[in-house]
Each structure stands twice: as structure tokens, then as C-alpha cells.
Symmetry: C2
Subunit: 456 residues, 2 copies
Amino acid sequence: MNNKRVGIIGAGPSGLAQLRAFEALKDKGIEIPEIVCFEKQDNWGGMWNYSWRTGVGKYGEPVHGSMYKYLWSNGPKECLEFSDYSFDEHFKKPISSYPPRPVLFDYIQGRIKKSNAREYIRFNTTVRWVSFDESTKRFKVVLDDLKSNETYEEEFDYLVTASGHFSTPNMPHFDGIEDFPGHVMHAHDFRGADQFKNQKLLLIGSSYSAEDIGVQCFKHGAESVTLSYRSNPIGVEWPEGIKELPLVTHFDGPTVHFSNGESEDFDAVVMCTGYQHKFPFLPSELRLKTKNNLYPDNIYKGIFFNDNPQLIYLGMQDQYYTFNMFDAQAWVARDYMMGTLELPSKEERRKDIDHWLAKHDAMEDALDSVDFQSAYIKDLLELSDYPDFNVDKVAVMFKEWLQDKEENILTYRDKTYKSVVTGTEAVEHHTEWMDELDDSKERYLKFNKKVEELTS
Amino acid sequence: MNNKRVGIIGAGPSGLAQLRAFEALKDKGIEIPEIVCFEKQDNWGGMWNYSWRTGVGKYGEPVHGSMYKYLWSNGPKECLEFSDYSFDEHFKKPISSYPPRPVLFDYIQGRIKKSNAREYIRFNTTVRWVSFDESTKRFKVVLDDLKSNETYEEEFDYLVTASGHFSTPNMPHFDGIEDFPGHVMHAHDFRGADQFKNQKLLLIGSSYSAEDIGVQCFKHGAESVTLSYRSNPIGVEWPEGIKELPLVTHFDGPTVHFSNGESEDFDAVVMCTGYQHKFPFLPSELRLKTKNNLYPDNIYKGIFFNDNPQLIYLGMQDQYYTFNMFDAQAWVARDYMMGTLELPSKEERRKDIDHWLAKHDAMEDALDSVDFQSAYIKDLLELSDYPDFNVDKVAVMFKEWLQDKEENILTYRDKTYKSVVTGTEAVEHHTEWMDELDDSKERYLKFNKKVEELTS
């Protein structure tokens, strides 16, 4: 018996994982707490719920999504597969290893649609303010119903913050950028390559956004793509038309100067300069304050806010693992909320965090990072009954993927991998990624195999 | 003696007017309440504090400003002149009637810099949540110090909401807009015409933003400018290169279809579709809920929230009058907070609001609107010691201005008007507006008169 109330902020992959975790218990006939999930958008899926809007949404709230058209998974789907809901179960046939956004969105929805979990979600509802009442040990949450423009308050015993951390741009200033005549945007506002056709595009940054937006714009007809890095270049073999330069020193009209003395004119600038962990609805004593890394400080097992573990954070890590990591976290969080998992003392938790932070500090390269997050996932899997999966094999796939990208950034998405959940080998997509300009689910699923004579 | 605390939200023209109103008393040796003004941006000036940023600012808060490069006043400066701080006092010489943004920003700052009012302002500070305590009759305000990422709470007897209403875009959806290949933005994110050079630009809207952005883009080299109206066209004589079409029905790739059956391809779309009155920090029972109009309901004298007049709104009207209207409001609000102006009962206030709403409903055209807001200003001027100015003469100027625009939308800014504060005649700007591509204060103030041989 459990008459607690659980509030979940966000119905993206992390929030939905939390709902699914409770549903899995319910399926076994176990009574679960009262759950309310608040979602700012009008549909679930978080980042995967593409919107054409930028800036603010229909009701004037900052747009959550950084999703763009023509986004294809940038890692093998076999590395993110739910271990309780396989790609085979969803699609009924093998598909390729790097599906486009609509296909992954479909997959995410498939699992959650199996239950009535949608009924837990209040859409178009944003959290305005949270406070913790020390006397009742409950959270008071001020909600804002965006459609009706009415605010109201509810209380929860547990609060799950699953609001993501790729929504609030980090946008540095460069001298002279005010007078750059072309368009300047953050990757958060990038909605697809079309508008940069035949343009000379500068991307500032050297992480996934820069790499992926750069390659997409090259593929879709930008005249040239230049990536500017602060510390280290991405360093793969770029095709003619894409290049890397060191950091921008300043702008002078349309001309951009780089720290190696080079300068060049550009038509547009996209800042791929990352995101802030931002929780405007939380008082500072409950806020997770961290840069984007694989082990944010002050959350035990990467989940429980150490000062108050009734406050739970999901998916706040930088990510190799994604959907399956959110699941592993959500199952552990669920067991704590159900009272079936006890947490050690605050001091013990602190020691555990420090232990992980020390390992985190010792990492030297991307391979180490993969091993680090794999070890973290294994640690989580031991704590709950989330279906075990072969993490070591996934780690090997991540390392091969890193290698594939280094070998050829334009063709790595044509590779295939083998599921650790079902053992199924992915099939090749019917069209090579560089020739595939249509990312619709319909076209993606239309053909089973590569067909040379395909007409779109 | 007055030991009350006053909180002011926003240090734009309205918030600064409130500070100035109190300073005017202090100058007379009268003790004033403790004042704290909260400003989200790192400088004062509100909309007039231009930022190159769009979307969110440095600390991840929605960008306040909708200001763009090359914005020149779109009404005569003589219609907005502070009656306690003339343009003559500030510039020491006559200037033209339509100055560019940096010149107006300079003017706004000039008055407030005369005192130490800057010390009242906490910059980089945003209001997260407000509640009213019925027992203490005070507002509890949760503040967020954006730089330190720390929240804290303070209490106030009066809360002045001067956060503006041209910051949160209203952005309708049109069928097919998701697949329009060019850039789609709201006027809120427009930062200047440069990026639209040689482009075919569609502006959706028929109010000031559409008119002004359209004319600016035409002036700065757009290939063509098309304005789309919902109900009525702006209807002035457009030069070749600008035209008006009725409402967009849908998008089909780069092609836009209009309700008269026409269709055309465009490179970019700017939605000049207005703004929402948005107060996310206020509980719904304290929120002003209104469309943009000349007399929002539920605020007595356009200022005092009728359900709780300790909550004060400044500048929430649609505007012919601007700076001088904010002043007139702020002086009245000040006298109420000082206890020297008593408000009638809630029922009496309601009657007064209804009286104005009836007049508002009876308006038929723009001339009526000018008269309506002029009458409103006169009503305010009777309530405080804000220096009287000849409102009737200003009303005449507004009507001439409407006529000037109708006669020639490209040259109306070359006209000059006479100050009702000092009697000074404006001088012609040294360069005709259509030929003036430099909006800097330096160039604007460099020459006293029109000089044909000017070299930039």
C-alpha cells in the first residue's frame, strides 16, 4: 500500500521512463502511488517531439525542443534499445541501425502506448515554482495551466525532475558579432539545413551539434561549412567542403577572424556552444548546478539529490547511453519511491558520489568515457529489476561507432549493429545515408532492403 | 514618514518613470519608501537596451527586447517628450523629430542619470514567483539572482509591474509552415534588415512591426517585401517593391498561398503578429489578462489592479503616447503609494473602468483612438503634480503624423514638429531618412543642419 503522491516534471524519454517503470509494477498487480506528470508541450516525447517553432511556443514559454528536420540517430539504435521493449517488438521486422527522428519517436511512443500512461500527463502545463515544506516533508508545486491561463498548487511526496538539459542555450559573445550582417542563431533554434543552401556557414563548437549540423548542411547543399573549435578539433577526415578552424577571435562585418590568423567571410553563424542545466522553477537550494558531464555532483547514483533525496533527477548526465540509461535510473528511483529500496545515509551517499567523481576525474579519452558510463549503467542495473542487458557488448558497439565516425563521417550511418536485447542484426537502409534526403517514417519503413532502383 | 517597501519589476521606460516619480519627491525633501527595482537584463532601458541576442539571454531567460538595428522613432519625438525633462535640456540643441534608437535611449538615460536612481536597481535579477499574504497584506516575491544562480525572498507592500508587453511573441500556425525551407521568425527576433538583402520577404501582419520592418528591409535592399493582412491592409501608397496581400491560407514548400487565390515564392517569413501580455511570475488571480488594446480591463485608471490595488501595472496599454504616458501613470501610482492619493471603493473603481470601456467600444477609427488616449492622459494629469503639457496639441500632432504616413510612408520621418514642452521647432535631419543608413548617435548629432555635401 502506498498513498504517496509523485510529481514528474516532463514527459520526454526520462519522464516517460518513470511512468513506464511504475506501469511495469502495476502490470504485476502491485499498487502504485498517485502519479501526475506535467508537460509544457502539447504532446509527449520531449526533444523528440519536433516543433517548427523557435524562441517561445504558442503560450509564450521558451521552446523546449532543439530538434531539427533531417535528424538521424547519431549513434547505433542498438546502444539505446529499451531492454523491456525491443525494436523487433515495435517494428516487427529488422530495421537499420541509424533511424531518423520520426522512426525513433514512433518507437518511444510504442512502449508507453501499451498502457494508459497518457492519462497521468497534464499537457500544456508548466511548473512555475517549487518549495519544500520541512514540516510536512512534501513539495508544494505551483502549476500553470497554459491553455486556461490559470495557476494552482499541488503537493507531492516525491518530485521527479525530468525536464532535460538540452533546451537552454549557452551562447557566448564574440567581439563584433552585433554587427555581423547575416543570421546568427544557436543550434537550439536550428530547424533544418534548407535555409543554408548555397550559403557559407560557420558553426562554432566541436561537439555533437556542430558535427551533425555541419554534416547535414553539407549534405543538403551548403556552399561550405566551417567548424570552429575552442580546445580540440573534432579531427575526423572531413570531405572537401567542410573544414575545422580554431576559435573565433572576433567579427568584423561579415568577416570572421580566427585565432590562427586566418579570416573568412560567412553568410550565417550557428552557435553549437552547448546548453545550460536550467531549473528556473526550483529554489537554489534544490537546484542541480552542474556543467554538462558524465557525473554531475550532488546526485547520488546520478539520481537522488543528496540534500533531499525526495527530489529525483533523471537524465541529467552527458550521454552515450540514453533511453536505456533513463530507464535504469527510473526503475531505481521507482523502487526508492515505493519504499522497496532504501538509501544509505547522506554521508554514505556523499562517499559514493566522491568515489564516482574520482573515477570521472581519471578519464582520459572518449574510450574511457564509454567505459565510465557503462560502469555507471551496470551499477544501476544491480539496484533494480530493470531487465538486464549486456552492457559490455554495448560498450564495444560505442567504441566501434567512435571508430566508424573517425573513418568516415559521411558513411558511418550506413553501418549495422546487432541488438543485445534480441540478437537481431540490423539491416542496411535501402538508401545510403548521404543520398537519403527524405527522413519520413513512411519512406523509411517502405522497403525492407537496399534497392538500387528505388524511386522516391 | 513612510516605512513601506515598494518593488518595481523592470527598469525600462515604465519602471524608470516610477523611480523618477519618487526621485522627484525626494528632490523636494520628502521622505520616500524603500524601493527595489528588479531588472532581468544587465542594463536599464527595457526595449531600448538593444541586444544582439535572440531566444534566451546569457543566463537562459527569454530575451526581453524586440529592438532591432536601424530602428528610428516611428512617431514624432514631440509626442513622447517627458514634460519634466525636455529634449532641449538633454541635447542642448534642437534635433529632428524622428531620432534613431541610440538617440532616444540616450535621452531616456539622461533624466534618470540626474539622480542616483541606478542604486535602486538590481540587475540580472528576475522575479520567479509572487504571492500575496492576506494576513500581512504584503507581497512575497521570490527573486532569482541570475549571475549567482541563487534565489531569495523579499516582501513588499506595493508591487509595480512594469515588465512590458512587447516581449512574448504571439505566433500563429499556418498549414505547411513546418516545411517552408527558408527562415521563419517572429518580429521579436528580428535584429535588422541586413540578412534579408536581395531576398523576397513575407511579413505577416499589418501593425507597426510589419509596417516598420517592411519599410526598413525595402530601404536596406530586400528584393521585395510583401505584407499579409488579416482584416484590413495598412493601405498607404506603397512604393514599387512593397505590396500588401490578404491573409496567408497555407504554405506549400517555398510557395505561400493567399486568401485571394494568389501565390508566390518567398525566401523568408517574419511574423509581425503581435505580442502576449504575459506575467508568468504572477498567480492567475493577480494576472492582468488582456489583449493589446487602449484600455485593458480590470485596472483602475489603467494602473491599479482592481482586485488588489497594491498591485500596480504601468504601460500595459496599446500606445500612441509612450514615455509621457508612463510618467503620468507613475506619478499617480506614486501618490497612491505615498498615501497622498486615496482611491475610491472597489465598486466605484469598477464603474470608472466601465465608463472608459464604454468609450473604448465606441471608437471607430485611428483618429478616435488618438482622442481616446489623449482623454486618458488628461484624466491622469489631473490626479498628480506631473508637469502639465498641452495634450490637445499632442493629439493634433498624432493626427498629422497619421496623415504624413498615409501620404508617404518613406518620407514621413523627414517632417518636423514643435515641442509642447519647450516650444522648440525640430530641425530637419542632415540626411533624408531613406538615404540615411547609419543610425549611430555620433553621426546623428554630428551636424546641426541638413548638409547636402555630407560624407559619412
